[in-house]
């Protein structure tokens, strides 16, 4: 049995920020991550971040993990990579597997689950063909391994991910036939969408994919226009010559472990699906588990890092850290989250979080 004050599950932006903050407040942390290295999905985010300095604006995603994994905290943060949490039990024991055969138990006074999110799928004939990829998979292939996904791509979804990955495909020399978006408007930042438009890539709003065709892999895709009721307009079907269909239709929180623990969930579409109910400091009703990042509701990496710091500080306060110091971090994080979720861009997230408040616990 490994004993620790604070266990952090997941070493992406939220988990790393949580560990960094708790360690800065004097708490010993054990961070486990299933990957070969920490960083989560930052490893493929070669683009520069937006926002203010506090949110790493101007820094490329791939460079953020080392900023969050600081030398000065290395005595307090123990990191286990290639380690997957496989079980959570009622008595607060968590079991984990390092590599293929090192299975062990962890007992933590507090835990922060920062397990992230996974790509959503879309239902259409041929969606199981090789060549139909999640947008994240295309980013992994291109940005992490330098392998292009194919010769010509149909992008499904014009949110930030769909738009940014389309642009990265162009930069890698892979033509994008079109971006189709079922909604009437482009969801991603217009500055990125404009880059695509200038490069001659059509962004077709109110359009969807009907089918992927091919024998052993995608050889073409059929797209069509949608009416105001999201129904296909007959006669608008068009076959596009592509060997890759890239789905950028959103993410859903990876809540399996929290479910196993009996953590109460609520279905909130604005946050990506089923999300754990928690208080404003991200503590769940289990009494010892916090959540942070996409698992708490899908947002951008900037918000995930602030949530990590918030949960890290709140957990640290309960574990005996200086209350005043912790409270300072907590209020700064709450203000920062308000700022990130401000304005029209944050409207969806704000309404999602408002829905959670009905069932929120007050710890």
């Amino acid at each position: 049995m490994v004993n620790t004050d604070l266990l952090v599950v997941g070493g992406g932006p939220a988990g790393l920020a949580a560990a960094d903050t708790a360690a800065s407040l004097g708490i010993d942390v054990l961070l486990v991550d299933e990957g070969r290295a920490v960083g989560g999905q930052l490893v493929k985010q070669t683009h520069k971040f937006f926002g203010s300095g506090e949110h790493y604006a101007g820094v490329r995603g791939i460079d953020i993990p080392k900023l969050l994994n600081r030398e000065e905290n290395s005595q307090r943060v123990r990191i286990l990579t290639d380690t997957t949490v496989v079980g959570c039990y009622e008595d607060g024991v968590v079991s984990a597997l390092t590599g293929e055969d090192n299975y062990f138990k962890i007992k933590a006074k507090r835990a922060i689950f920062a397990t992230g999110a996974t790509e959503k799928f879309l239902s259409f004939p041929g969606n199981d063909l090789p060549g139909v990829y999640g947008a994240g998979a295309v980013q992994t292939l291109m940005n992490q391994f330098g392998v292009i996904p194919g010769k010509r791509v149909l992008m499904v979804g014009a949110g930030n991910i769909g738009i940014i990955v389309s642009y990265q495909l162009l930069q890698a020399g892979v033509p994008v036939a079109a971006v189709v978006e079922a909604a009437p408007t482009i969801g991603g930042y217009l500055v990125h969408a404009s880059k695509l438009a200038r490069a001659g890539v059509p962004i077709l709003t109110r359009h969807t994919i009907l089918e992927a065709r091919g024998k052993d892999a995608v050889e073409s895709a059929v797209i069509a226009q949608l009416d105001d009721n999201w129904q296909v307009v007959p006669g608008t079907e068009e076959e596009v010559d592509v060997d890759v269909v890239c789905l950028a239709v959103g993410l859903s929180p990876v809540v399996d472990l929290l479910r196993q623990l009996g953590c109460e969930m609520k279905y909130v579409p604005e946050l990506g699906g089923h999300v754990p109910i928690r208080d404003k400091n991200l503590k769940t009703a289990t009494g010892w588990i916090y959540v942070a990042g996409d698992v708490a509701g899908v947002e951008e990496a900037s918000a995930a890092m602030v949530e990590g710091r918030l949960a890290g500080a709140a957990a640290a306060a309960e574990l005996g850290a200086d209350k005043q110091e912790a409270d300072t971090v907590i209020s700064r994080c709450l203000a920062s989250l308000d700022a990130l979720r401000g304005g029209p861009v944050g409207e969806k997230i704000r309404s999602g979080i408002a829905k959670l408040e009905g069932g929120a616990v007050n710890a």
């Binding site: 299933e34 199981d128 090789p130 990829y133 998979a137 292939l141 052993d216």
Partner: protein, 88 residues
Amino acid sequence: MVRFKFEGRELEGREGDTIAAALHANGIKVLSHSRRHHRPRGFFCAIGQCSSCLMEVNGEPNVRVCIVPLEEGMDVKLQPATGGELKW
């Protein structure tokens, strides 16, 4: 370069590639087949979540090739959906 085998064919990948990335770079997109209809499957998520890329590596079935690093001399094979011997 890292040399490895896929279905008996000698292929090359790059240091630091995952098995799936190396196969893709060699033009191999079909990594598995569905259980009932034997439809071809490739990887979908590339981060070890979707289970669509399970292959036999060095005799061991059900390896998520999208997250396992390529190593010199690896023997990579297609497997039936349940693992074990290919029966079709």
